[in-house]
């Protein structure tokens, strides 16, 4: 039987090999590069110790990208949680055409984030953009939506929230299906108001769905890359970068491979820590019924 188990174990070697060769090993390589000053292609590599990490902490573009990333993740997650639950509750009631509504809300999820960004520029562009046209109907001045860092950040968060609300909604709909009717019925008999029903019964019982969507959305938000490329490309003057777009810019445009690796390591550790705390926070709140 033991030999059989060893034979069985051989079956995971190809998958493991692929993940190690193209994810774990490059991570390790990047970790080493992060201690060097290097432009990414020349033979000249100088060991600089923790200098890249220290430079990073003091660099304003890094700080901007870091806080932007936090903003994108938190704001889009909030949007997806609130709208996701609201849509799920709305579609949980029976009416004709609810499947069509579900289809439409989930539709953007299957479209590439890059294209979603480009589609949105048709709405936000200064010239001929749909939103400026609407402003002009009411006699208002057009706004250069994406060329202002503040508005750019807001739009990136909103677009990301809009893009993925459908996926949270689906998870919440599945969660609602798992709530036994008798709890709702019992609370109704006890004269609970709609708000009490939601806050005391539905929401606590949706907790597993909240936990997994918060984790999914936060991690996704902290990695955000594609839609920034198509919406602002990090501009104006690097003010809407996320950590991901900053890494790409630092490596390929500024040619600072060591420094870009350091940002990469920071991003990895940061996401790891955040997911750890999200998991722990929700594990402590598990409800039993």
């Amino acid at each position: 039987m033991k030999k059989r188990k060893i034979l069985q174990n051989l079956m995971y070697l190809p998958a493991l090999g692929l993940m190690i060769a193209f994810i774990v090993y490059p991570l390790f390589r990047g970790f080493l590069y992060s201690f060097y000053k290097w432009n990414g292609y020349s033979q000249n590599m100088t060991f600089v110790g923790f200098k890249n990490y220290l430079d990073m902490m003091g660099n304003q573009f890094f700080r901007i990208a870091f806080w932007n990333t936090v903003l994108y993740a938190v704001f889009s997650t909030l949007l997806q949680e609130v709208l996701g639950i609201a849509f799920a509750l709305f579609l949980n009631s029976r009416f004709k055409g609810r499947i069509a509504v579900r289809t439409v809300i989930y539709l953007p999820v299957i479209i590439s984030a890059l294209l979603i960004g480009y589609m949105m520029t048709f709405l936000f562009q200064y010239h001929y953009g749909v939103f400026n046209e609407i402003l002009q109907w009411f006699g208002m001045e057009p706004i250069d939506w994406l060329r202002d860092p503040g508005r750019g950040r807001l739009i990136i968060s909103l677009v990301t929230g809009w893009h993925y609300t459908g996926s949270s909604m689906i998870i919440f709909m599945a969660g609602l299906q798992n709530i036994p009717d008798m709890y709702i019925e019992a609370a109704k008999l006890d004269g609970a108001t709609k708000w009490q029903l939601f806050s005391r019964i539905t929401l606590p019982l949706l907790q597993p769905a909240v936990a997994s969507t918060v984790l999914l959305n936060m991690v996704g938000g902290l990695k955000i890359y594609d839609s920034i490329v198509s919406l602002t490309n990090g501009g104006p003057v690097q003010k809407t970068n996320s950590l991901s777009t900053l890494i790409s810019y630092t490596y390929f445009t500024s040619e600072k491979a060591g420094y870009a690796s350091a940002i990469g390591m920071f991003q990895f550790v940061f996401i790891f820590i955040i997911s750890f705390f999200i998991n722990r926070y929700f594990a402590g709140k598990e409800v039993e019924y």
């Binding site: 069985q8 692929l18 090993y25 590069y33 009416f95 289809t103 989930y106 590439s112 709405l123 990895f268």
Partner: protein
């Protein structure tokens, strides 16, 4: 008697019906708002794709002429068909590798609960958390040293490596629900582990495989990060890269309408698949969230 009894009842029914109607009205209004919010960007894209480059009329209004040149040009100029071919190739191989290696790996991991295997399982879950940009420098230099720039294989193997953890997770959850007495019986009959896997486990994995193919297929089709670094020659472009090329050059006032047509042609296959196989898309979303 009958009249007196019947009257309040029918009145009650009428009130109930009216309440029901009002409730439904509220729902249709909300639905309409949702439709506008979710379909407006797509509608504008469609409108743009049917307009001439020189047509600067409102993007909210459909043109009053029939203009298909954006589509015809996109199909004729060859860039699109080539990118479509490249995308199909990359997607099929990526998904194929994910499915085959994924179910193979999930079988021992869910059947042999040894210490080693639980470590391996946590490595898989850890890999899931590594952001693709964090390893950018490491992976790019690795592929350059292997002469992989402008080849499809780096995009395929890296895409597969990032998709594998999800596949292993989904497959091992599913295999856990298959009674292990089935494999034991096969083992007693003298079947090797591979034979047992092939004849006993594999035939039962069809539903998860369908979900996984859809989920990972959409991911590979839409993949942007690594193709954009490794596929630099236009001849090697996938559809997403072609879209970027069209829109990217559009900043200087050139052909946004052509870009819209290419974007629609590139997304149509996925949207059609979604409309007809929605069940699998939804299932993939639900399964992927359960840890």
């Amino acid at each position: 008697m009958d009249k007196i009894k019947g009257h309040p009842e029918s009145l009650g029914k009428k009130i109930q019906e009216r309440n029901k109607k009002e409730k439904v009205w509220w729902k249709y209004t909300v639905s309409l708002v949702i439709f506008v919010i979710y379909l407006l960007p797509i509608y504008v894209l469609v409108v743009m794709s049917f307009k001439e480059k020189t047509d600067f009329s409102s993007r909210l209004l459909l043109p009053d002429y029939l203009y298909l040149d954006n589509y015809i040009k996109a199909l004729k100029e060859g860039g699109f068909l080539n990118a479509l071919k490249n995308t199909c190739f990359v997607t099929a191989l990526t998904v194929g590798i994910i499915v085959i290696l994924g179910c193979m790996a999930a079988y021992p991991l869910s059947r042999n609960r040894s210490r080693l295997n639980s470590i391996i399982k946590s490595i898989c879950m850890g890999v899931m958390m590594i952001p693709s940009l964090s390893i950018l420098v490491g992976v790019y230099t690795e592929i350059v040293s292997m002469n992989g720039v402008n080849c499809f294989w780096p995009v395929i193997v890296i895409g597969a490596a990032f998709g594998l953890p999800t596949a292993i997770l989904l497959y091992s959850n599913f295999i856990n629900s298959i009674p292990s007495s089935l494999d034991e019986a096969a083992a007693l009959d003298g079947a090797s582990p591979f034979k047992t896997f092939w004849h006993v486990i594999l035939p039962q994995l069809k539903p998860v495989t369908a979900t996984l193919v859809i989920q990972q297929g959409v991911g590979a089709w839409n993949n942007f990060v690594y193709p954009s670094y490794f596929l630099q020659k236009p001849a090697k472009y996938t559809l997403v890269l072609l879209i970027r090329q069209y829109f990217g050059t559009a900043d200087s006032g050139s052909n946004l309408n052509g870009a819209a047509a290419v974007a629609i042609l590139s997304t149509l296959p996925i949207v059609v698949l979604y409309i007809f196989m929605q069940k699998y898309f939804i299932q993939g979303q639900i399964d992927g969230a359960v840890k």
